[in-house]
Each structure stands twice: as structure tokens, then as C-alpha cells.
């Protein structure tokens, strides 16, 4: 981050003035810090996606197939015919501008092409020219233009500056969802081999090994067993997770990011402690899988087909193991895929049972068909039935706020469950301002595969609106911990907050639960899961 300006300068440097030249006549410069590296051709090959070759976005020659224009044109047409959303969204925007300043990337960069309406116009201009008679006749004055290499580069640059967060769609009077347009645009780019490596390589890994990080089965088990030791150190209890176990009641799937990097690891430890607690107390029977060891689905950021290919593992593994239903961990886009796509793509999962909590007997009617329950729903139900023994004062060092992740917010509507859980395990909870949470929540700035290192300026710009609201509650209430239910958040927010509000840390919901959870037979806890002294234990340190 050394070549970045100081936060103050960054903030005052953002200029929302519109350029003198019309957007169609303003050339796009692919700028360092704002773009992600091109996909590694080996990853593209593993997936069998088109045009695998080394290429570099900064070079003039992108090594495209000879007939790339034709491929894009036909791909465009195919998608118009397959998705009503795409067709309607291409046709009905009135350019009222209501969505313009709703995008975190526009707020954070001031670049007009980051206004959702213009991002969509990048494609719409081609649509008019290629698929409407009037557009063809009127040409530029009708808002149409021909597909050229410059336009293609502009697409690539700006479609990877959208985190598919759907905030724009909340405000659009017709519900035009620029995320949907980005999804289609990225599909088209993938047809000619234009992806970014932060998406392509995780997908290839996930396809091959079951998770984004390419952790092989034995290593996955090792990593979790490493946490077993940590947990034993803190609580004196040996939690004993099981893997790939046939005949378990429930299969647990969560993003692999939590297995790999802090602070997600603490959330992962939280799951393990929770499951152990429930097994000891109520005979709860759950297994992890190394084959379906990824909840996240970067295929979603590539194409509908790739999303389906990766997602298929969830049901396939549930079927193979013969479980009753699936419990899903904390992740954002994973839950959009599960909630709005999985059953349609890979269902119906009639080999599973309608999910019932074996502990409370609660039927999860809302997951009757998909047969997959969110850990926040599961936990809220447990707490509501008083099934967890909790000591919220162990979280008293934290003044907590909750960041609604885009996908569970706008692609699911899960607002109360995590709040209910958090408020039951923490004594100090403060909300951020109303127009920055719930369905109006701001993205972490790094979703949809943009969580790379080389595009740090973009990520910090996109993370600004969220961080700024955090700063507000930090200054007003002393908030020092931001909770979330998303693994990408846990990877992205620490970086963004360290830059914008270094006093605030990031945590997962289940980490807070595990801190407060009184495990049967545990030794007196002195630290939280992070090894920080619990409130009142500070002196014992010395």
C-alpha cells in the first residue's frame, strides 16, 4: 500500500466532476491499481474455457480470436434470448440517474463510467447498434456505437470494477440490476478468454480440489486439526470434527477462506466449537467434506455455466454421504447462489429431507425445497429456544456493529437473524446509519472476485463508503469491531478498515458466538479465540 496517498488526501482527491468530453469519446486508460491481472492460462485450460493463452491487459495485443466480434455478437444475442432480465434491462432504462451515486465505486472513484447507468450503457450502446433497427439508423446520436477493440477494453476494465452488489437495483424505479448486466458482460468476455486471475485460478482450484485455495484433502484435514489444537489451548476441550463421513445427519459447507486466513479462521474455530457443543449436549451429528470444501462460488463471477459446474458438488456430496440436509456457513455470494440459483440449476434435491433442527424440532419451511439452511438461521433458532449456554460478557471488550453483506441482504433478505444472534452474544451493539445498512448496505468494495492485491486503489475506493459509515459509529459510539457473515468481507474489510479506520477490526458472527459459548467441561477461559485477554483477565497476563 506504500504508493497510495494518505486517507485524507485520497478522500479529498476524489473528484465527482464530469469530464468535458462525452463518455463515448472519452478513451479508457487501463490504470495500475485499478485493474486485476489477466487470468493464468493454465487455470483457463483446467476449466476448458475458451482462448487459454498468456496475455497482458497493458499490452496492445490481447491475443483475441480472429472472429472475436462475431463471438461477442452471437453471445450477446444468445443471452438476450435466454434471459428476459437482460433484454428488458437493455431496453427500458430512462437514464433518470437515480442509480448514479448509489454505487460505492462511483462514490469512491468519481469516475462517471462507474455510475451504474453508464456501466450498463457500455453494453447498451452495442445493443442498440447491433440489435435495434432505430439504433442502427441513428448511429451515435441514437446512443449506439460499433464494437471495437477500444470498446472491448472499456468493457473489461469497468465490468471488473463492479462487485455485482445490486445496490443500484434497490433504487432503480424499474429494478434494473446493473449486477445482472455485469454478469452478462463478464460471460461475454469469458467467451473470448478475458477473465482476471483472481477469479480464474480460484475456480480452477475449486473445480479440481474442491476449494478456491487448492487445498488438497489431506491438507484440508490438517488445517482444521491445527484449529483443534488452538481450541484445546483456549478451552481445554478437544473438539473432534469428522470428514467425508457417510451416514451423518447433516453436511456442513462453508467458504474455504475461513480455513485459510485470519480473521476467518476464528470463525472457522467457532463452527467447530459450536458443533462439538451441540454433539456433547444434544447428540448433533454433522460432517465436513473435503470434496465440497468450498461454499463460495467464483463461477458466479464468470458465467452461469461455470457457477453450475462448481455448485453441483454440494448436492452431489450430500447425496453420496446420505445426509438429511445441508447447513451452510457464513458467506455472501455463496448464499445468493444457494438462495436464488442452486435449486433451479442443480435441484430438485429430492434425495434430501426437508430440514428440521434435530435440537429444537424447528422446521425450516423457508428451505423446504433447497434443503440448505444458513448458520445464522440455525443459530438464531437455537438461541431463541435457549439451547445455548452463553456468557456475552466475554465479548465485552468489543463494541460491535454489523455489516450486511450485499448478497445475503439484497439477494436473500437476511437482516434479523444475524443481528439477533449477535445481540445475544454481545452486550454492546450499535447500528450504522440507516441508509448504509440492510437493503441499502454498502459493499466491502472487493466482492465478485475483485479481492486481489494489484487493484488496491480500486478496492480502497470501493470500500470507502462502508468504511466511512464504520468511522462514523467508531467516532460516535466507540465501535471497535465490525461483524459480518461473509468470508470475502473477512478478507476484504480488514484491509479497507486498516486504511480508513484502523481502530476497527473485523469478525465473523460465529466467532462472537464461540467466545460467549460455555462449553461443558471447559477450563476457565482467559483469552478469546484470538488469544487476546478476556475482559477482567488483563492482569493475569503479567
Amino acid at each position: 500500500m506504500s504508493d497510495l496517498p494518505k486517507p485524507d488526501e485520497f478522500l479529498t482527491g476524489i473528484d465527482h466532476k464530469m469530464p468535458q468530453t462525452d463518455w463515448m469519446n472519452t478513451p479508457t486508460e487501463i490504470r495500475k491499481g485499478m485493474y486485476c491481472y489477466a487470468s493464468n492460462y493454465k487455470s483457463v485450460e483446467i476449466l476448458g474455457l475458451p482462448n487459454a493463452r498468456p496475455w497482458n491487459p497493458l499490452e496492445d495485443d490481447w491475443k483475441l480470436p480472429e472472429n472475436w466480434q462475431q463471438i461477442i455478437h452471437e453471445g450477446f444475442k444468445e443471452r438476450l434470448d435466454k434471459f428476459r432480465s437482460f433484454k428488458v434491462f437493455m431496453d427500458i432504462c430512462v437514464r433518470c440517474g437515480a442509480c448514479a451515486d448509489k454505487c460505492h465505486f462511483f462514490i469512491g472513484t468519481g469516475d462517471p463510467k462507474n455510475m451504474p447507468v453508464l456501466r450498463a450503457e457500455l453494453l447498451r450502446s452495442i445493443y442498440r447498434n447491433d440489435f435495434t433497427t432505430v439504433g442502427k439508423i441513428l448511429g451515435k446520436i441514437g446512443g449506439g456505437r460499433k464494437m471495437t477493440l477500444d470498446v472491448l477494453k472499456e468493457w473489461w476494465y469497468y465490468l471488473f470494477q463492479c462487485t455485482e452488489c445490486r445496490r443500484c437495483s434497490v433504487f432503480c424505479p424499474y429494478g434494473i440490476d446493473t449486477a445482472e448486466v455485469t454478469i452478462m458482460g463478464r460471460e461475454l468476455l469469458n467467451l473470448i478468454g478475458l477473465n482476471i486471475d483472481w477469479i480464474a485460478t480460484p475456480i480452477a482450484n475449486c473445480y479440481q480440489t474442491g476449494n478456491h485455495l487448492g487445498i488438497q484433502p489431506h491438507a484440508f484435514k490438517d488445517m482444521l486439526e491445527f484449529f483443534v489444537e488452538d481450541i484445546e489451548e483456549i478451552t481445554g476441550i478437544n473438539v473432534d470434527p469428522s470428514f467425508n463421513r457417510k451416514g451423518a445427519d447433516i453436511l456442513f459447507i462453508t467458504p474455504s477462506g475461513d480455513v485459510f486466513a485470519d480473521p476467518g479462521t476464528y470463525t472457522c474455530m467457532g463452527y467447530m466449537m459450536l458443533f462439538h457443543y451441540l454433539r456433547e449436549k444434544y447428540g448433533f451429528d454433522i460432517t465436513w467434506s473435503t470434496y465440497a470444501s468450498e461454499g463460495g462460488n467464483f463461477g458466479f463471477f464468470t458465467s452461469h455455466e461455470t457457477m453450475k459446474r462448481l455448485n453441483s458438488k454440494m448436492y452431489a456430496e450430500a447425496k453420496r454421504l446420505g445426509v438429511k440436509w445441508i447447513l451452510g456457513g457464513e458467506c455472501g455470494h455463496m448464499w445468493r447462489v444457494i438462495n436464488q440459483y442452486m435449486d433451479t440449476m442443480n435441484g430438485p434435491a429430492d434425495f434430501l429431507e426437508e430440514p428440521v433442527s434435530p435440537i429444537t424440532g424447528t422446521k425450516f419451511e423457508n428451505a423446504k425445497s433447497t434443503k440448505m439452511v444458513h448458520i445464522a438461521e440455525f443459530l438464531a433458532d437455537l438461541i431463541h429456544h435457549d439451547k445455548l449456554e452463553l456468557d456475552p460478557s466475554r465479548n465485552d471488550n468489543f463494541k460491535v456493529s454489523f455489516h450486511d453483506s450485499c448478497n445475503p441482504a439484497r439477494g436473500m433478505g437476511m437482516f434479523e437473524e444475524p443481528r439477533y444472534v449477535i445481540k445475544n452474544v454481545c452486550n454492546h451493539f450499535y447500528e450504522m446509519p440507516a441508509n448504509t445498512i440492510r437493503e441499502q448496505t454498502f459493499c466491502c468494495g472487493s466482492g465478485a472476485g475483485l479481492n486481489a492485491g494489484e487493484n488496491m486503489e480500486l478496492r480502497l475506493a470501493g470500500g470507502l463508503p462502508r468504511a466511512n459509515a464504520v468511522k462514523y459509529v467508531h467516532e460516535k459510539f466507540g465501535v471497535n469491531m465490525l461483524a459480518c457473515v461473509c468470508a470475502i468481507d473477512r478478507a476484504a474489510l480488514p484491509t479497507s478498515l486498516e486504511y480508513w479506520v484502523p481502530e476497527v477490526d473485523t469478525t465473523g458472527m460465529t466467532e462472537l458466538v464461540a467466545n460467549a459459548l460455555i462449553m461443558p467441561g471447559e477450563t476457565k477461559r482467559e483469552t478469546d479465540l484470538r488469544g487476546e485477554p478476556l475482559p477482567g483477565m488483563e492482569e493475569d497476563d503479567a
Partner: protein
């Protein structure tokens, strides 16, 4: 100067000259009075239906509603039946609120960077208000015009006229009404709101930047329609009885050209014809599209019910068997269960 609105303004000027010169200099009354309006109406109807048909031909493979409220999950958590509708009834209410009250636009916020570096978002209602006034006034005006197309004048049209002009008494001072026939609020509001929307488009830098000629054109056109209409009523006083005879002739498909009707009428009628022709090929189709937007018109019970995708197709996956083949030895060494032991696959 912005080429885009100049282009649209120029287009409107040409469109004004056509009937004006056509009728006054060349006497093309039949052309502008009968043929063009009938052709326009035909194009509008066919075009509109074709667009709707075009959209319906593309399936909705996935249910992607934007959830703007709490999901229905645990019974003791209050859910939002309208903003996150799991039932058809909820969707209907959501759509009614969108179509009649522009609910999403009502959420509009304006972002500002305060001097202390805090970003703030304030509620911004002007666009919503202007848009709502514009559309409702437009609707009222259209309904009022039914008086020209039905004999006897339907009751609801009379009632609407009554209220439309009745409000005037409450809103305008006496001095304003002197010498004028009953003023219709809707016409004035339509004009004022259209001018506001136009001004906003020209004055707000962001909106100007995203605007196309196709965004100015309908506003100029509608302003043209409103101005010519208001002029007929209050300034150039046309022969209402003559016009009614003419329009009744049109709808009974027995048109005759009225006498004593000035050029303003032909301009008005021609502008309306242009709007009708332009409509199906333009963004004005948002009128139909809003009903078909998959982020708004679908239920959110996607985990509770199975929905199918008409073009779902099998994809290549990396199966568990392949996976185990890749890692069997390592899995066995790590004590992970396997489906096939090494001995079984060595053969």
C-alpha cells in the same frame, strides 16, 4: 452547448414545421388530420404488442428478485411481505406500489461529501415528486381526452374533469382565472413537471452526462404537445364542437375534415402522432417493461419451492470419483474415508 439536446430541439422544430406549413401553405389537412394519426395509432399498437411479445419470448431462467426487506424464515422473526414477497399477493402489492407510486424512486438518496470527510446521504424527493406529477398529470390528461372520443361523454371522464378543474379554485388566486375558461390542473402540471424534468436533465451535471438525444426528445415532444394543447384552449380558441365531430368521425372510421380548425390543432395532433410512432421503439417502453422486471415481479420463495429453468442443460463437473482418483493415496494416508481402497483400483 450540448449537441444532444440541440439535436432533439431541432428535430422538434422540424416536426412542428411539417404540419404547420403542410396545412397552412399546402392544405394537406387530410394527410395530417386523418392518414398520419391512423397510421400512428396502428404503429403504436402493433409496435407495443410486438415489444411485449419479444420480451415474453425470452424466459426467466432464474428468480432474481432484489430483496428489500426481511426474508420469511423463522416464525418469530417478522418478515416483509411486500419488500421480500413470498406470495403472489405480496408481489402484486409490490408492483402496484412501484407502478402507481414509484416506490423505489421514493428511496432516492443524494450523496454528499461533508467538509469533515464524512460522507452523508440525504433523502432526495424532488425527482420522485416531479416524476409522479408528470406521469399522473399525463394519465389524467389522456383520460380527459376521452371526452372527444365518446358520445355521450362517460361519467368518469366528467367526474375527472370536475375534480381536475375544481382543484384550480383551491390552488389559484381569483386574479388568475379572470377571463379564462376552467383551467385544468393536469395540463399545467404536466407542462411544469416536464419542464422540471428537462431542466434537471440539462442542469444536473451527472444526469446531463448520461443523457442521450433520445432522453431529451420525448421531453421536448411532450412539452410541445402540452403547449399546443394549452394554446388551443386558452389562446387560439379552437372550435370544440368541430373537433369533436372530427374525432368521433375518426373512431367511427368515417372521418371528415372539420372546417374552421386552425393550424395549432394540426400541430398538436401531429405531435401526438409522432409520440405514438416513437413510443414502441424507445425507452418509453418502460411503461410495459416495468411489469416484466424480474427483480421486482417475482416471489422470493426460491428456497421453499422448486422452480425450473426451461433451458437447463447438463454441465461438465469434476465428480467425487474423479476427485478420489486424484487424491486417493493422500486421503488414505490422512485417515480420510474413501469409496474405493487402493487395492480395488490397482487391478
Amino acid at each position: 452547448m450540448n449537441g444532444k439536446y440541440m439535436f432533439s430541439l431541432l428535430a422538434i422544430f422540424v416536426l412542428f414545421l411539417l404540419p404547420y406549413v403542410g396545412v397552412t401553405a399546402f392544405g394537406l389537412k387530410t394527410l395530417f388530420g386523418i392518414f398520419i394519426p391512423l397510421i400512428a395509432l396502428t404503429i403504436f399498437i402493433i409496435g407495443f404488442v410486438r415489444r411485449i411479445k419479444g420480451w415474453s419470448e425470452s424466459p426467466v431462467p432464474f428468480r432474481i428478485p432484489t430483496t428489500c426487506g426481511q426474508q420469511k424464515s423463522l416464525t418469530w422473526i417478522e418478515s416483509s411481505p411486500i419488500d421480500n414477497p413470498t406470495t403472489k399477493a405480496g408481489v402484486v402489492v409490490r408492483m402496484i406500489l412501484e407502478v402507481m407510486l414509484f416506490r423505489s424512486l421514493f428511496r432516492n438518496l443524494k450523496f454528499k461529501r461533508e467538509s469533515n470527510g464524512i460522507l452523508s446521504y440525504s433523502w432526495e424527493l424532488w425527482l420522485w415528486l416531479g416524476a409522479l406529477a408528470f406521469h399522473w398529470a399525463f394519465l389524467v390528461t389522456i383520460v380527459r381526452h376521452l371526452r372527444f372520443f365518446a358520445e355521450p361523454i362517460p361519467y368518469f371522464v366528467r367526474a375527472l374533469e370536475f375534480f381536475d378543474s375544481f382543484f384550480r379554485v383551491e390552488f389559484f388566486t381569483d386574479a388568475f382565472q379572470v377571463g379564462l375558461p376552467g383551467i385544468y390542473m393536469s395540463g399545467i402540471v404536466l407542462l411544469a413537471a416536464a419542464i422540471y424534468l428537462l431542466a434537471r436533465r440539462i442542469l444536473l451535471a451527472q444526469v446531463r452526462y448520461v443523457s442521450l438525444a433520445a432522453d431529451y426528445f420525448p421531453l421536448f415532444l411532450i412539452i410541445g404537445i402540452a403547449v399546443s394543447g394549452i394554446m388551443m384552449r386558452y389562446a387560439s380558441k379552437v372550435d370544440i364542437v368541430g373537433i369533436k365531430a372530427f374525432t368521433m368521425g375518426l373512431v367511427t372510421l368515417n372521418p371528415t375534415i372539420p372546417e374552421g380548425v386552425g393550424a395549432t390543432f394540426y400541430v398538436h395532433l401531429f405531435f401526438v402522432s409522432v409520440l405514438l410512432i416513437y413510443f414502441p421503439f424507445s425507452k418509453l417502453m418502460h411503461m410495459g417493461g416495468i411489469f416484466m422486471s424480474p427483480t421486482r415481479n417475482l416471489t422470493t420463495d426460491t428456497r421453499a419451492k422448486h422452480y425450473s429453468n426451461p433451458w437447463n442443460y447438463p454441465v461438465k463437473t469434476h465428480t467425487y470419483e474423479e476427485y478420489e482418483d486424484d487424491y486417493r493415496e493422500k486421503m488414505i494416508d490422512a485417515g480420510l474415508p474413501v469409496d474405493k481402497e487402493l487395492a480395488e483400483v490397482k487391478e
